[in-house]
Symmetry: C2
Subunit: 636 residues, 2 copies
């Protein structure tokens, strides 16, 4: 039931069009009841004040067959409502029967009910000379009974007595047995309905082995890969094994986020008209991505999870902000559920944020907002998890974990463009399980202690940090560098604040207590600052997105935000004055490169060849470390 | 023009119902054109795949008179579109003529046009054997011409030649004079239209004197006041003086946010049906608060500002998150405008977030989200401003400033419940102009240096910090305490990061370099951490909202989040071990009080009398300071 007095965002919403995404053969049905009682807190509602014919047109235009229950006499209305409900349910059964017996998936015009009754119906009529029933004044508190309104006591009494408690309860206050008899039994009771406590119905996903889709990585950075493209194949296998238990949601982005492999085993659910050249549409598809509305996807997925099933929402990173408020409510709901012992755990709400801020081949400044992470971590630490896998194998490992988890909100940020792959699948599993770790093959401080720590989190920062490290190691071979990659963002927070947080000892062991840390971060740099506020080492210098960018080359996006290798090298030099002239000359070279870069992209419209073709391990110093610390060929 | 291929959130949106909020006499008109070209990036659109009759019903149900232009033959369609546009404009003129001559405000059925044409119309037909024109494949890049697709060059050539450049330009590449002649002249050119560069048309608001509405504050905390109720009267005066230049927007919250005074001089704009008992509805009202949709209010206000006029959006604090994404786009738009010298400044986007997280008389956990501030400050520092005035006089001063400002987004958080008033209007103006300052009348470290600094930001934290100070000064009269109140949140950030930020010298002078700071903050505590990350003094301990709360008493909300006086006193004791036994005994007393509080609210459903009736200055130590540092009676 939708109360028009609660939010016009509901009564006027896109959700009415969900009937184009419902298969009369395989799906159940919904009977929407619009309770048109006409008022919000102090205003009329819009749908209550248009003409009857317009209201009828509106719902027919949304694809429904509206049935009207209108009036203000309780007795008449009870009967009318009962008979209309009866008719609606018969209509639904008839539609389903026809569809299932005739295999007819023509989009049905499902019934819906408009219940128009007075607001505050049967409540106080007139209080202090003002009409209450049937007006906005019946919202919230129709009658204030307190020390300043003694005359309202009589009004309250007569209102309460109008319910005729003496007909409902016996002299001992017990509900009359013949009335108790009317209530449904067992699981049909509203509070015991397992569909409203979906964890009871939850069946674990049958999980295929994500390792089957691993990218073969002969040595770090030796091959390029498209992370979400790899993930798509894993999702395809999951969709295949869990046809009635798993769905993919997204606002028309399943293909553009490179998850199209799922269409090898299922389709997009679509029950409106089809024409030639449509792709992957079917009434019984398991992918819901044919309505370009983030609100719609979020609402559908939340509802699906609440019934005990599993799914994920893939979205452009910037536009997930559209559902900030909906995410908040779900996170709050999960938090409260943890306090209710009878509420069984449900599958986690999984977000895959692809097409992220650093990938702007077509889109520009409007498509750049990595701040969903900031929003998410304001919620309770026992609910929220944030992962930024650096390559495809890490993404596989992370997503396998997320889909098995319960009662969390998991946010995973991943790219779709071809970028270097760093870890073998075995390494990725270990790294992602730890959530954070030193990349020994990129570091050269094994024999002593680092001069500088280079941290990275997210695919693009990881690439640039490693490129900066390769420049530093080539030019300053004596400089001892430790490279730390972060997959599980919450590792940065203190253990006392988040269950995933590193202990102070572990954090200090990784990042040192006092060495300078140059940290490349996927999102807004202040997020790392707030997570590490309590940490001992204050020499933390974070580069991240700073609201600069337009439609430009991939590398120039990083340059505009000081997250590129040439800025990062300068950051290191700035923090290590003992480098002296060597540092000054290197800094000059970096500045020269930035000018060369700008001039080149102005002229050619693409990045410098040495940027496009850069690979880890081109320089001897890195090859040496790689070969001693790491088997050169992956044994899989 | 609304392209159905861009976002179903637009083509199916609540905005169609804006026609109930348009006065045919005093307002202009809009002619919406739905360009139904049928496809998104890889899917059909919903409205393109319903039946013609449903589409017609949908728009009639939304209150429009739809005119259809459908086909795929360019010549025919050009003529049909031209004649339909002509008819629509005639219809609009007829409606306006009738309304204005007959003074007839009956809601008109305005015309709208559905333009159904093939996507990628007249572009490439078939590429690599796949149909392009009229399918989703025409989205973005219909034809990829690169080194791997040499055969596409001929396709591109024939496509480009189909525009017959030789008929449009002469042999020197100049547009044919007879064609140039067709373009509009001067300000009627699209790029020169002043309505699209609203700053040109902007007229300053006529600003009344906010001091006329000042609350008389004989001494700090002596009287209570309802901050937004006071602001409402100032807004009323502004609305009166600027009838065609100022509007108030909100989702049915103008009254509940206590801004109802504006209805003394104007009404809610409403052109749907009216009935008895409606309040303040009129076709020509200047308040738009009769549609309960935050998205709608934000969209309306942004559009209004862009035409060079002024306004504000009042909203419940938690639900402003619904428009996170819309705010982002406006902030990004303002940032880019600053880089365009021809774009004139427009009035700031002003948010008044009332009914905030600490005021939960009816609503509960779902209504608690102070995180809009976190979101806002991720945008460019030269765009965003955040104010948390501690009382009504501060709110008046802040809002006067905001309404005079240009090209900012101003976020103001203010309460509506009766809370102590601290500053006279003269003091408030000075304090708000500085944005941050020591409240000398509450401090007792004037003769030396503080033992502890107590910071506060927001009405509720200010109250609790002052209550904690009064307890500390009563029990530990030798303890030297400095009280600092923050109105302008960005003062906390470094001057190098935000134009309002305090210099390091000023910050250190206020907060000291090493004394413990106990800081009560309105929002999530980590926001203060990230703003102060670079500051010298690391002994900062922030209490704020930590996602705890339900429908409970006002004071219990603070207790649940450790922001109450009894927790704050304990925080001070914890940080000052030299207090010894005195501290231990005081801490015990505070713990006892918390238990007493819990028991009392369980039994009585309201806060302890000593909480409800608490006033600053009840204890001698405070009276002494007050009388020496401050005139006891305000001279106004």
């Amino acid at each position: 039931m939708i109360g028009d007095g609660e939010a016009e965002t509901a009564s006027l919403a896109t959700a009415w069009h969900s009937n184009k995404f419902l298969d009369p053969i395989t799906d159940g049905a919904v009977l929407p009841i619009l309770h048109l009682n006409g008022y919000k807190i102090s205003n009329p509602t819009v749908l209550a004040r248009i003409e009857h014919e317009e209201l009828d047109h509106f719902f027919r235009g949304c694809g429904w067959n509206p049935l009207f229950v209108e009036g203000d006499d309780p007795e008449t209305m009870h009967e009318l409502m009962a008979s209309t409900l009866e008719k609606a349910i018969e209509d639904i059964r008839e539609i389903q029967k026809n569809a299932r017996e005739q295999n007819d998936t023509t989009r049905p015009r499902w019934p819906m009910i408009v219940l128009r009754s007075p607001k505050g119906w049967t409540g106080p009529q007139v209080v202090d000379g003002l009409q209450i029933e049937g007006t906005f004044r019946a919202h919230q508190v129709p009658l204030l009974v307190d020390i300043e309104h003694p005359d309202h006591v009589a009004l309250l009494e007569s209102w309460m007595k109008s319910y005729k408690a003496e007909e409902l309860f016996d002299e001992k206050g017990r509900l009359m047995p013949e009335l108790a008899e009317l209530a449904p039994k067992g699981n049909r009771r509203m509070g015991a309905n397992p569909h409203a406590n979906g964890g009871i119905l939850l069946r674990n996903l049958i999980m295929p082995d994500f390792r089957l889709h691993a990218v073969t990585v002969p040595s770090p950075g030796a091959v390029n890969g498209q992370d979400t493209l790899v993930l798509g194949k894993f999702l395809r296998d999951i969709a295949k094994l869990n046809q009635k238990n798993f769905r993919v949601f997204g606002p028309d982005e399943t293909l553009s986020n490179l998850l199209g492999a799922v269409f090898e085993v299922t389709n997009r659910q679509w029950d409106a008209r089809e024409v030639a050249n449509d792709e992957f549409l079917a009434p019984a598809g398991r992918v819901l991505d044919s309505m370009l509305s983030e609100n719609q996807c979020e609402g559908w997925l939340e509802g699906y999870l609440l019934t005990g099933r599993h799914g994920l929402f893939n979205s452009y990173e910037a536009f997930i902000r559209i559902i900030d408020s909906m995410f908040s409510q779900h996170a709050k709901w999960l938090k409260v559920c943890l306090e209710l012992p009878w509420r069984r755990k449900i599958s986690s709400l999984n977000y895959l944020l692809a097409s992220h801020v650093w990938q702007q081949d077509h889109n520009g400044f409007t498509h750049q907002d990595p701040g969903f992470l900031d929003h998410v971590i304001n919620k309770k630490a026992d609910i929220v998890r944030v992962y930024l896998p650096a390559d495809a194998n890490c993404l596989l490992s992370v997503f396998d974990h997320c889909l098995r988890s319960r009662n969390y909100v998991n946010v995973v940020v991943a790219g779709k463009h071809a970028l270097p792959q760093w870890l073998t699948i075995e390494e990725a599993v270990v790294h992602c399980t730890e959530g954070i770790g030193i990349w020994q093959w990129a570091s050269n401080d094994q024999e002593g202690e680092p001069d500088v720590v280079m941290g990275c989190c997210g695919d693009t920062p990881t690439l640039e940090i490693l490129a900066a490290v390769s420049i530093l190691r080539e030019h300053l071979p004596d400089l001892k560098i430790r490279v730390i990659n972060v997959v599980d963002l919450m590792k940065l927070q203190s253990a006392s604040e988040h269950p995933h947080g590193l202990s102070e000892l572990d954090y200090d062991a990784l990042f040192t207590k006092d060495k300078h840390i140059i940290f490349g971060f996927h999102g807004y740099s202040s997020l790392v600052h707030r997570l590490t506020y309590r940490r001992t080492n204050r020499n933390l210098h974070v580069r991240g997105y700073k609201e600069e960018g337009t439609i430009t080359t991939a590398f120039d996006m990083r340059v505009q935000n000081d997250l590129d290798r040439f800025h990062l090298v300068q950051d290191v030099v700035d923090r290590l004055p003992h480098l002296g002239s060597k540092g000054a000359y290197l800094k000059q070279e970096m500045k020269d490169m930035l000018i060369k870069h700008k001039n080149y992209i102005d002229e050619h419209g693409e990045d410098l060849p040495e940027i496009r073709n850069w690979k880890w391990g081109q320089h001897k110093s890195q090859q040496r470390t790689t070969s001693t610390k790491q088997p050169a060929v992956n044994q899989r």
